[in-house]
């Protein structure tokens, strides 16, 4: 076994691995990449049913209600230009409040209803998710100082 042959093997294996990894990564990106939408984006162009997306905005005041099974909640997410109904079965994060920023992850079901699988928790009273801030700015309803930006100072 010559040193050159060994190097050749090594090169072939590395390239093969890199190829496989790239293929897997691209495939996963195609299928699993979660894009962020604001309610206005969705009003403009609704993503396909079943495709996982993130939706961000403010929880509309007086829109939160509990369905009769007691565990499913429904609320509206708004960017102050358009809004969208969201259904979620589960326990809302401790800091979920009407009138405050929220990001939910989920998909439209066959009947066109947005079902959230996850309502992302905030870890701080003053925290507004940057995507939400961006969406609000895009809809022209952003007021400086209305909500402070910044992540919390928690674990390293």
């Amino acid at each position: 076994m010559k040193r050159k042959t060994l190097r050749l093997y090594l090169l072939v294996i590395s390239l093969a691995l890199l190829g496989i990894a790239t293929a897997l990564v691209l495939n996963a990106f195609n299928r699993e990449l979660v894009f962020f939408f604001s309610p206005s984006d969705i009003a403009a162009e609704r993503p396909a049913a079943g495709r996982m997306i993130r939706l961000g905005g403010l929880v509309e005041v007086d829109s939160l209600s509990k369905l009769e099974d007691g565990a499913t909640v429904s609320f509206r997410v708004t960017d102050l230009s358009s809004s969208l109904d969201v259904a979620f079965r589960g326990v809302l994060p401790d800091l979920f409040r009407e009138g405050q920023g929220v990001v939910v992850q989920g998909a439209f079901n066959e009947s066109g209803r947005f079902v959230a699988t996850e309502v992302l928790a905030k870890h701080d009273e003053n925290y507004l998710p940057p995507e939400v801030a961006k969406a609000l700015k895009a809809s022209g309803r952003w007021q400086e100082g209305a909500a402070t930006m910044g992540t919390d100072g928690s674990e390293p």
Binding site: Y9, F35, K66, E155, P156
Partner: protein, 658 residues
Amino acid sequence: MIVEIGHFALVLALVLAVAQATLPLIGAQRGIRPWMALAKPAAIGQFCFLALSFAALVHAFVVSDFSVAVVYMHSHSATPLIYKIAAAWGQHEGSLLLWVVILAFFGALVAIFGDNLPPRLKARTLSVQAMIGVAFILFTLFTSNPFARLSPAPFEGEELNPLLQDPGLAFHPPMLYIGYVGFSMAFSFAVAALIEGKVDAAWARWVRPWTLLSWTCLTGGIALGARWAYYELGWGGWWFWDPVENASFMPWLMGTALLHSAIVVEKRDALKAWTLLLSILTFGFSLLGTFLVRSGVITSVHAFAQDPARGVFILGILVLALGGALALFAWRAPTLKAGGMFAPVSRESALMLNNLLIGTLTFTVLLGTLLPLLFDVMDSGDVSVGPPYYKWTFIPISLPLIALAAIGPLLGWKRGNIRQAMRSLWGAGALAAAGFVIALWIDWGREMLAGFGIALGLWLLIGTLVEWAERVRLFRAPPLESWRRIRHLPRAAYGMSLAHAGLAIAIIGITASSAWKMEEIRQMRPGESMTIGSFSYRLESVSGVRGPNYIAEQAHFAVSKDGVPYTDLYPERRQYMVQPMPTTEAAIESHIFGDLYAVIGEGDGKGAWTVRIYEEPLVPWIWTGSILMVLGGIVSISDRRYRVGAPNRQPAALPAKA
């Protein structure tokens, strides 16, 4: 006053670090002995001053000196003492100081215990370590001074984030830092070796214990963090592929690769350039992690406050350190003497393949972590990458790696016999196949990956036992002979067996808990009950309780199995007094095959509460596996081969049979 002493000590440490970064290096180049000898006292002095500085900060927290800005922002006089202390590293400034202290700590260790190192190598290594120190002390002083004062001093502080008030988390950051800052030692050794132009088995033997120590602590730190997420966040999950989790996971992966390739350098004098490269990259990933966490470029539950200046500064350090080291590598590596040869089927090849696979895994994690950033920079929309991405990239690539981990140790150095190895593994193969069938049967049609996970976990577990049995010739040699072998097997061998077995057990736990977790969410009134798995939960009552700095609603669940009382669970929903945020304290009861996990949510004000119950199969196996891995690391470090100061019994280049 004490605060000012701390601040001053930090500045003094900087002065020493600057001296340590330059003089010994020049001394080593020019052959000036006294300059080289300067490295030792400088390294020890630098550590002492930094330790003093950190002690001053901890003191400020303990006495609740709210005139110090970080104390005001992260502590409160009513906080229990342990969390006052933990708050010293529970925020950006203090944790950065801890980072620097640990950096200097490793330098001091090498200075004290490295008397058997060649003086030049030692001087250069300590100089490089001090360069990193200079960069980070400057960073601390200029962008994140923990000793900044407030005037006038507030009367009361704002309290540590309640989520962080937890005993497990109090020790998570120090362990994590010892882990990923510790990889700086391997980096410094690698750069010193490149300057020297010489890498041999002895070099690997000096580097490996430091890498092992870092790896062991990082493993423990990550496990502690995962465990914290599991019981404190109340979502029943323990790993979220969050960018900050990845930031510590990537150095862990690379460190694991480094541990394995350093063995080849030590035993066979091969893969030298590769190992140097890995040493550099591993610490590069530590720096990248620091950048991700502290620059605010990613949003995460963990991320520290955003400050662009900090991000730019760390990016500068990252580019300088990594760019400089890699340039040095490109220049000097070709001059290294080529090492020993090996056949395509051999222990060396197996370890090489292990490295390539781990490298590929790190690559996928890196892409998943950085992609949202890239999208943001290119202004092509906001995206996020979640667990499904990793399921389709990380998991498939890790499967062959686990399969290989059982085979590799059975192959001989230089030239291995794959048939013979496979013959020893027939039992492991049979059991793995059985596990695969059972896993598929449990979960028919839903999840193929679970079958592979369970099968490979069993394969590695049995394979590891088989390898140990072969070494001691269990049942093949007379019992006395086997017993003699059991006692004389090197500790490093036991370390490997423990770590591999731990990994196997953790994999089984991870697979089962991700594939077969059950979750039930319902609104319940006291007196009602629900059944999940084989357990029935009856909500007995919800009552108010009071802690030192919080009030809480506490639920009482009576759990029964087949009508027989099994246990009681008391989940809480806490409201801290200072920071108006409720936190969830899950109630968890572990048994061998899983956890019962109950969480109480918000009440509706009319006597009903939302409750979440999880059935978490095999989660305790994850913790058991992690503990075994940590133990494996500790046992390996204690191998006499690495014992600092121990005379070298065997000539460096002789291939050991172990």
